[in-house]
Symmetry: C2
């Protein structure tokens, strides 16, 4: 079966807000074997909503509305869908009683406009909303002679997600042919997309029964595998077999095949080895530390570090000799190594990282252009330095530099 | 006039990718006085594209397609729009020559499939693409008896943006009634949305000719004002008058009215006063330093700082006495103050910031729950500490803490 997702709300047609619920719903629908073929965004206008509803019911088998179920005059999804289907809206006294109870339990009196949230399209199943006032609605029937499933879901993400999981997934599954869909995500660090694809295309192209999607971001490639089979075990065995071959081909470039981020993987390995990490960052300005500490529990392996933007602080916090900076420049292989070794010693860590580079857009020279970054990793047995020339804007260059540094730690630990 | 924006590409119907071009286009269209009334996302299917094209041409006056103009079999926007309009596609020999030239100038031979990028819908104006191979197309004519403008634009954001600005804005303006639209954005820090709205609603509601949109994010509220008038000067005067009244009402909560970020504002004030800043971060783990250094040129006022995740490093880098930590705990008013004062001294900065708190989700206690954060700001004349209880997940708590710290620096400087 295929689906259209409709996001309702005038704010989603401004330059400032974007529908994100549909990404979640798409993931869950794909897991059920439902393909999303259209997405539409429409404002709080009854006539526009009606136009969108009839177009969707003509072209998709499952039509999901998100939003426009609130208590205000602008909330018109119920009315528009009823119009389109030629059905009546009827006040549901059970729903109304629950609404009144919800307000009463918080010591509040329900205002009159909330009552419209108890209006239910004739023949619809009410889907209780555990996290908000607007219940969802499920309508199953014919439109223009064709079988259709229509879902009305609330817009706030935490209401929508819970309601969809609790009330919709099993109802949809019962309407769908039994499917067993298995997926796998392989993550790869610091590899050019073209190089990655050139190496793995000959492998995944042999499996026409597996859908392979390659998503390239800044310093990270995700390879998504998906297949379906008669049983879940069969489906999983099929994707696992391809995953194994891809991982073998890409070798040490692969850092995760279970969804973990690079920050998490670095954390696992440090913990596993009872090791600690400290960092001295110049051009990344705290981004590396921020990424490492975004993982809950990182205090078990991350001691801390220094953001050494000025030359004086490179000396003060990481013991880099001023002469070294003077001789080679702050952006140099030597200073990167000294930062890593200095912070290692200062923090009494197992591993020390040093980063220095030109993040731009200003500050580049012919000899040391914007994008030049030196990354150093030190432990008691020695120091490695990697020199890279990243392109792009300040944000991208800083991100790549932090990614490269994390990847160096990962490779050293594995 | 109103518009529908259509994003084309099967990847935009997966859980992993999202159309973002439409936000940019919406901003530019709004500036011309065009309202976006529908957005649609459709995959690389000729029949789906045709369905979407005819629905859009029925319900919107300007229809803009983004993407699907590339050289592969999956790029079908040209074909589908031609089908829908009942027009022919014709190979444009000038466009083809330019394409071949583009490849030749890079020492490459054009592959045969690229030639389809020279296919132009009969009667369309070719819009040269300075940044890529696929030109845009502009079609102005009747559909089902109604005047329509149809735009075909390339999908890659840098191609789309340049092409729209260079080739479409003036062409659209010539088709539209003359409009003078003025806007203003007021940014407010660390104020609850309900409190902000309660104070300014009585003011902005007096101006029915100004569209006021309030967008609340983590620790920041943006108040967008927009109006149109006979002349640009008139329009600007109208929004400026309201902006002035809102700013007077909100006073020191307002940090910017020209689009600048809080990080930028802090930077301006530090530079203006010839002052420098250093930070010692515990729970924010480098986020504050990262935000400050995300501004190009921040090395002029930001010296650096320390990420003092472990207690030992609080002592080592910011000179916090171990007894103080033992007596009050690492998360305390006293340790926050000692971090700010210590880092100030160590870095010889004009201002020092210290942050310590419980970012969660683990590590909270009854006395010191998740979300409790102490923020300290020191200079030679004294130290302020602000205690806050933030709610939300780790990411949100860390963001709020960095926002609070930046806002303290801003307030001290103004």
């Amino acid at each position: 079966m295929n689906a259209e997702i409709i996001a309702v709300g005038s704010e989603l047609l401004t330059p400032f807000r974007q529908d994100t619920n549909s990404l979640y719903l798409t993931e869950k629908l794909n897991e059920l074997g439902v393909e999303v073929v259209f997405k539409t965004i429409v404002g709080d206008s009854r006539s526009h909503l009606t136009q969108v509803a009839s177009a969707a019911l003509t072209r998709a088998e499952i039509v999901i509305f998100m939003g426009g179920l609130g208590p205000t005059e602008d909330d018109l999804t119920r009315e528009a869908v009823a119009d389109t289907l030629g059905l009546e809206l009827r006040r549901d006294w059970d729903v109304l009683a629950r609404l009144e109870q919800r307000f009463a339990s918080r010591g509040m009196k329900m205002s009159a406009n909330n009552a419209k949230q108890a209006d239910v399209i004739s023949g619809a199943t009410v889907l209780p909303n555990a996290n908000g006032t607007a219940p969802g609605q499920w309508i199953s029937g014919k439109y223009d002679g064709k079988e259709r499933i229509i879902l009305l879901l609330p817009g706030p993400p935490h209401e929508l997600k819970a309601l969809f999981l609790d009330q919709c997934v099993e109802r949809l599954r019962a309407k769908l042919p039994p499917q067993s869909i298995a997926t796998r995500v392989i993550k790869v660090a610091m590899m050019p997309e073209s190089q990655c694809d050139a190496r793995i295309a000959p492998i995944y192209k042999r499996y026409s029964n597996i859908q392979t999607t390659i998503l390239a971001g800044a310093g990270e490639i995700q390879i998504h595998l998906k297949t379906q089979a008669a049983s879940m075990d069969d489906a999983q065995a099929i994707v696992d077999k391809l995953a194994e071959q891809i991982e073998e081909e890409l070798g040490e470039f692969v850092f995760s095949d279970n969804g973990d981020s690079l920050e998490q993987i670095v954390g696992y390995f440090l913990q596993m080895r009872n090791a600690t990490l400290a960092v001295a960052e110049s051009c990344t300005g705290g981004l590396l530390a921020e990424r490492i500490t975004s993982v809950s529990g990182s205090s078990r392996y991350f001691l801390g570090g220094a953001v050494v933007y000025s030359n004086e602080l490179k000396t003060e916090f990481a013991g880099v000799p001023p002469e070294l900076i003077q001789k080679h420049g702050a952006v140099s292989r030597e200073v990167a190594a000294a930062l890593a070794e200095g912070i290692l010693k200062r923090c009494k860590a197992t591993y020390g990282v040093g980063i220095t580079g030109v993040a731009g857009p200003a500050g580049g020279t012919a000899e040391k252009p914007v994008g030049l970054v030196f990354h150093a990793l030190a432990n008691e047995s020695g120091t490695d330095v990697v020199e890279r020339n990243f392109f792009g804007d300040r944000k991208r260059i800083r991100w790549f530099a932090s990614q490269q540094a994390l990847d160096m730690v990962r490779r050293r630990l594995t």
